[in-house]
Amino acid sequence: MSDAEGLLAVRALACVRGDRPLFAGLSFTLEAGEALHIRGPNGLGKTTLLRALCGLSRPARGEVRWRGARVSDLGEEFTAEVAFVGHLNGIQGDLTARENLEMTKRIFVRGAAPDVRAVLERVGLKAQSARPARYLSQGQKRRLALARLLVLRRPLWVLDEPFTALDVQSVAQLSSVIAEHMEGGGVALVVSHQAFTVPGIRDLELAHYGKRRA
């Protein structure tokens, strides 16, 4: 069997924090339209893994390939295809909700981008769009951060605990947005402790790769 190169391929990945190994020997492949739900107890390095996968930090060993090429060689070509929502919302509190998304559009999108007002309406922040973002509630801020996914329209979504602070309705909405993304040929990596249902999403238990003795 040839080493089938999916859209995103992870080979023998190992990450460390400081001097301590977190996990090692992690491999998986995602084809277009596939998604992975990464689980595992605290302190195993789920956030570190996601940051390594979207090129923010460098893994200790192993490699990540995107469309067959090494991520470290692609540089900005790769980051231009990733949408990352981390623990931090990435929202500038002194700008309004709408200005935040407008800036995202102008700084991060090459070529055509969707209408920001339509996106705000979709995530239910239309009424708040002219308010400085720091006056939004935690859940609203999270929704604004996730709205970036719809503005960017990038093929790889990397989401770190995206459901934090979201109400039941918003959890369902985000789940359907992820499903839609997969139907459109996108790939998603989701770290979450919360239960959510997205048809066809696969599970990955990070604890299986934890702290192997070298």
Partner: protein, 245 residues
């Protein structure tokens, strides 16, 4: 970069350095003894400064070493940054306090030499001033290293600082010299351009090589303890420490 594999190299280097240290130390002692003999007894007194000039045999090598160590440190740091070689990171980190102490020694001996020369402990002489700025650069480098917990990040961050510093050193150096010529008559510089006699040059060279070997010896000693510290979770260090206690 296979030959500098991240976990293999420090372990092997630890052993290698352990074998080299006694030899380097012996060479250092030998050079210091002969250098001091040549400088303090063999070389004749200066016709103007008498015996006071002999502090030059400590001051000048330290001033040279202070600059050279910064360049070496930056080269190690850049190697570590670009090729992700952990041993180079450690060598850079271990170099910094040594370079800082060379700089401090150069400053103190320069000031001691200044007292009989100028009648005051401190003069804004070009060489002393640029040594002082260099000392600040070392302090900054060490402060940055010390304030970041993650050794990987500390190494990468301070590598950027070291490279910026190394680009800046010549600019700072020439700015200070230029500033000095603008404000002071040139005759005040420590070594001016007096003719250096063979009898002074030979001890100076021997002492310089002695300080170079002192640096190398101390670098090996320091990097050995740095390796132990960083690899404390690995099996070989545990075995080593277990065997020792």
């Amino acid at each position: 970069m296979r030959f500098l594999h991240k976990y293999g190299a420090p372990k092997r280097f630890y052993r290698l350095a352990g074998r080299l240290v006694p030899w380097f130390a012996a060479i250092t002692v030998l050079l210091f003894v002969s250098g001091l003999y040549l400088g303090l007894y063999w070389a004749p007194p200066d016709y103007q400064q008498g015996d006071a000039y002999r502090i030059m045999f400590v001051h000048v090598p330290n001033a040279w070493m202070s600059m050279m160590t910064y360049v070496i440190m930056a080269a190690f740091a850049a190697t570590g940054y670009v090729w992700n070689v952990r041993l180079a990171d450690m060598l850079a980190k271990a170099s910094a306090p040594l370079g800082a102490s060379f700089t401090l020694t150069a400053l103190v001996t320069g000031s001691l030499w200044g007292k009989p020369m100028w009648g005051t402990w401190w003069v804004w002489d070009a060489r002393l001033t640029s040594e002082l700025v260099l000392f600040f650069l070392y302090i900054g480098y060490m402060a940055l290293q010390a304030s970041i917990d993650d050794p990987q990040r500390a190494a990468r961050a301070s590598a950027i600082l070291a490279v910026i510093g190394v680009i800046n050193i010549p600019i700072i150096h020439y700015s200070v010299y230029w500033w000095h010529t603008l404000h002071q008559p040139a005759s005040l510089t420590v070594t001016g351009q007096p003719k250096i006699y063979m009898t002074m040059l030979i001890p100076l060279i021997v002492m310089s090589i002695a300080f170079l070997f002192f640096y190398l010896t101390m670098l090996l000693v320091r990097v050995r303890s740095e390796i132990l510290l960083r690899e404390r979770h690995s099996d070989w260090v545990r075995k080593l420490v277990g065997a020792a206690s």
